[in-house]
């Protein structure tokens, strides 16, 4: 019996998901275009950049520092068996620049800023503030959603660049002074194997895509939430889960396209 329920449920889910995706895409377009609306204010954008970026900075720095140090340790013990510790700098830098920097930044950002964003927008909806704005002829896309979306797109690559740098520094601190890898080799091998456009810029491009996707999902989950106290909670949970999975999935696709 349970199996017989499964088939129509699957069909219903598909039928519900497709229009949802369409609505989410329209939501994204309306919000991105809302920059030219007269209700879009730079002040609002700066406020969101402050909230998303400046206030996540400490979290990112601490996370990056520890990630880099762990990479240094693990890489050293893996490479020392082959006498190839000279490649440690390359290993730390490439892992951070290509994968760990963008992905970890985006995942932390989804937890730190995405959840707050969903909670904010969904409780605005629950308390009918969004409706009130429309009554006052203020476009809620331009006033509420667009500044947050653009702030996400701006903030995540910046956070990622800082994450990469702090992570590499953490890796250096473990490799050279603690484990005794030669400092000159560490930097020279890194420099001869890392390219600016191929590794650093593509990593930041990944971060930009993740910033867009995470804030998009967070804002959409908030906007589409049930306008109840329970709905706000559900939307926040869903926002973090969906955004994290989307980042990991998108990372695979981007890697397949960018690094071939």
């Amino acid at each position: 019996m349970a199996f017989l329920d499964f088939v129509p449920n699957l069909g219903r889910q598909v039928l519900l998901t497709i229009p949802n995706l369409g609505a989410a895409a329209r939501f994204l377009l309306r919000s991105l275009v809302a920059v030219i609306n007269r209700h879009f204010s730079i002040q609002q954008l700066l406020k969101q950049v402050y909230g998303f970026g400046v206030r996540s900075l400490l979290l990112m720095i601490v996370a990056a520092f520890f990630t880099g140090m762990v990479l240094g340790f693990q890489g050293y013990y893996a490479l020392v068996r082959f006498g190839a510790t000279s490649a440690l700098g390359t290993l730390v830098a490439l892992s951070l620049l290509r994968e760990l920097g963008p992905v970890l930044t985006a995942l932390l950002f989804a937890g730190r800023a995405g959840s707050a964003l969903t909670a904010e927008i969904s409780s605005m909806k629950a308390t009918e503030q969004l409706n009130a704005m429309e009554m006052m002829a203020v476009n809620p896309f331009a006033w509420v959603v667009a500044p947050r979306l653009w702030a996400g797109i701006i903030v995540v690559p910046i956070l990622c660049a800082i994450f990469d740098l702090v992570g590499i520094f953490g890796g250096y601190l473990i490799s050279v002074p603690v484990l005794g890898v030669d400092g000159g080799t560490f930097w020279a091998q890194m420099q001869s194997n890392v390219t600016f456009s191929g590794d650093i810029l593509t990593g930041l491009f990944k971060a930009l895509c993740f910033g867009l996707v995470v804030t998009w999902i967070a804002a959409w989950q908030g906007y589409a939430a049930q306008p109840t106290a329970e709905g706000v909670g559900n939307a926040t949970t869903r926002s973090v889960v969906t955004a994290s999975l989307a980042v990991l999935g998108l990372d695979f696709i981007l890697t397949a396209f960018l690094f071939t």
């Binding site: 950049v49 190839a84 000279s86 660049a161 001869s192």
Partner: protein, 153 residues
């Protein structure tokens, strides 16, 4: 006042991001390594370049004097064509030789040039004719095993 504080923080945040990118570019990505931009170009044909890569160093007596800028294949001679950029102050004689060596046992490969004694210098765009290809360890081992086997008979 509150607004001004936010503006300041956002400004500092963006500057931090730009500074991080600049440090990454210079310190990690070695964008400053394009110091050979004003250098002149030389070519060399090898039968086998091994795992030589673009941006591998070109060395003379262990000192880096340039970098590999392009590796291609000549469809007529089936030789691998390596294009290098050399520091302008280093003038190499026409009978200069080029070899591909490995840094240590597992290290990176680089082009080593050995200057000859001719009075004329190689012109920009010139070709180094005396070349020695990368050592293929598999081939060496195969040869050694083969020699051992045939020698014991």
């Amino acid at each position: 006042m509150e607004k001004r504080a936010i503006d300041w923080w956002v400004g500092i945040f963006v500057l931090l991001g730009i500074a991080a990118l600049v440090v990454l570019a210079l310190r990690v990505g070695n964008l400053s390594g394009f110091a050979y931009n004003d250098g002149y170009v030389l070519h060399a044909d090898f039968t086998n370049v091994g795992s030589l890569k673009v941006r591998s160093p070109v060395r003379l007596g262990g000192v880096t004097i340039g970098e590999v800028t392009h590796i291609g294949m000549d469809p007529k001679t089936f030789m691998a064509n390596v294009t290098m950029r050399i520091e302008p102050k280093v003038k190499l004689p026409t009978d200069t030789g080029a070899s591909i060596y490995t840094e240590g046992l597992l290290g990176e490969q680089y082009v080593a040039v050995q200057p000859g004694g001719m009075p004329q210098d190689l012109k920009p765009g010139g070709t180094i004719t005396m070349t020695q290809s990368a050592v293929n360890i598999d081939q060496l081992i195969g040869q050694m095993v083969f020699d051992k086997a045939s020698g014991s008979k």
